[in-house]
Amino acid sequence: MATEPIDLEAAGTCVGPDGSAIGMPQLCADWMPNQIFWLLIALAAIYFVLSRIALPRIATVLAERQGTITNDIAAAEDLKQKAVEAEDAYNKALADARSEAQAIIAQNKAEMQAELDKAIAKADAEIAAKSAESEKAIAEIRASAVESVEAVAKDTAGSIVAALGGQADDSTVAAAVDARMKG
């Protein structure tokens, strides 16, 4: 470079006495063998390193990554399939459970209906029995009430006749009351 002192004899024909280039440095034939030599070394080194180490390594890394991605996608597909299957199974189970529940409900309903019917029938029968009994009781009560009325009427009639100063025996009074009550 220009500012550094350069040994004139060593610099050769391509560098002027002031240290700057004469003509184009690119065309200086003195320097070309050196450049070519080192260039070939550099290229050989790069080629060797790349082809032996770097490129196979990168190729494997890329292939591995591709493989991993493919595997992962396949696995994801698989899992998705499984999820779909699981969903189907779930839906089926749900449907089964629902129909079973329906059946149980129907059965329970039928049982309940039967029991209810039975209970109603029993209740009806009891009610009927009770009402018959009550009717009988009422009839008895009525009958006894009529009898009592007759007795009371006979007594009352006898007492009234006696009070009025009449004389009446019991049978006449009774016959008269009976006749009245029938009338």
């Binding site: 470079m1 184009m24 260039l39 890329l62």
Partner: protein, 252 residues
């Protein structure tokens, strides 16, 4: 780029835009012979070190979920691999390491050359000519090995009218032999031009009045050079793929 241009060395503005390309020995003051450890050698080996750091150390963990360095390495791998596959075809994948070597070398040389006061090996025609002619010779030999004399069908445009074919053959032949020249000079010229322009702008910075403008210009050109550094590596690689395609499938 070398140290900044010595603007007022003897009064007026003096530009030495080409001084940054001078090859000089790093140890001792001998003449530059073939095996001298020069600045070229240093920056070439630095490029090698960077490639190794990225592609070998960066991927040493072989992580399934890549680290930052590893994903850059994988990105570069995928980028060039796809380029080879798309442009040249699936059967060219076995030449991928060569093409990838070229790409990584050029990319890192170009980017390392953008460090201020560094040296840019790819701006030297000797360097790029080795790359370009290397590709040219390899592709030509490969073409003849794979296709035999059928490789010459590359120059015989069978879709053209018969009368035109000899003329076209000459044109194709010339363009074929210009390929390595343009291939290498494109890279060297781009890098050299960019760095020389940077240097010229830096020279203007010696005048106080225009120094801000000059610094602004350097910034803009530098940004362009970052782009060019990548694009030229890309173009070199993709043209290599195109030439390789011609060798493998010479029929038009």
């Amino acid at each position: 780029m070398a140290t900044e241009a010595d603007g007022h060395s003897d009064g007026g503005l003096v530009f030495h835009p080409m001084d940054q390309f001078i090859v000089k020995p790093l140890f001792g003051d001998g003449a530059v012979n073939m095996f001298t450890f020069t600045n070229v050698a240093l920056w070439l080996l630095l490029a090698v070190a960077c490639v190794i750091a990225l592609m070998v150390l960066g991927t040493s963990k072989r992580a399934r979920v890549p680290s930052r360095t590893q994903s850059v390495a994988e990105l570069a791998y995928g980028f060039v691999y796809k380029m080879v596959e798309d442009v040249t075809g699936k059967d060219a994948v076995k030449y991928f390491p060569y093409i990838f070597t070229l790409f990584m070398f050029i990319v890192f040389s170009n980017f390392l050359a953008l460090i201020p006061s560094s040296f840019s090996p790819t701006s030297h025609i000797a360097v790029t000519a080795v790359l370009g002619f290397g590709v040219f010779i390899a592709v030509t030999v490969l073409g003849f090995v794979k296709n035999g004399a059928g490789f010459l069908g590359l120059f015989w445009v069978s879709s053209a009218p018969l009368a035109l074919r000899p003329i076209l053959a000459i044109i194709e032949l010339i363009s074929y032999f210009v390929r390595p020249v343009s291939h290498s000079i494109r890279l060297a010229g781009n890098i050299m031009a960019g760095h020389a322009v940077l240097k010229v702008f830096a020279g203007f910075a010696a005048i106080t009045a225009v120094a801000p403008l000059s610094i602004l210009g350097i910034t803009a050109i530098y940004a362009l050079e970052v782009l060019v550094a990548f694009i030229q590596a890309y173009v070199f690689t993709i043209l290599t793929c195109v030439y390789l395609k011609d060798a493998l499938h010479p029929s038009h």
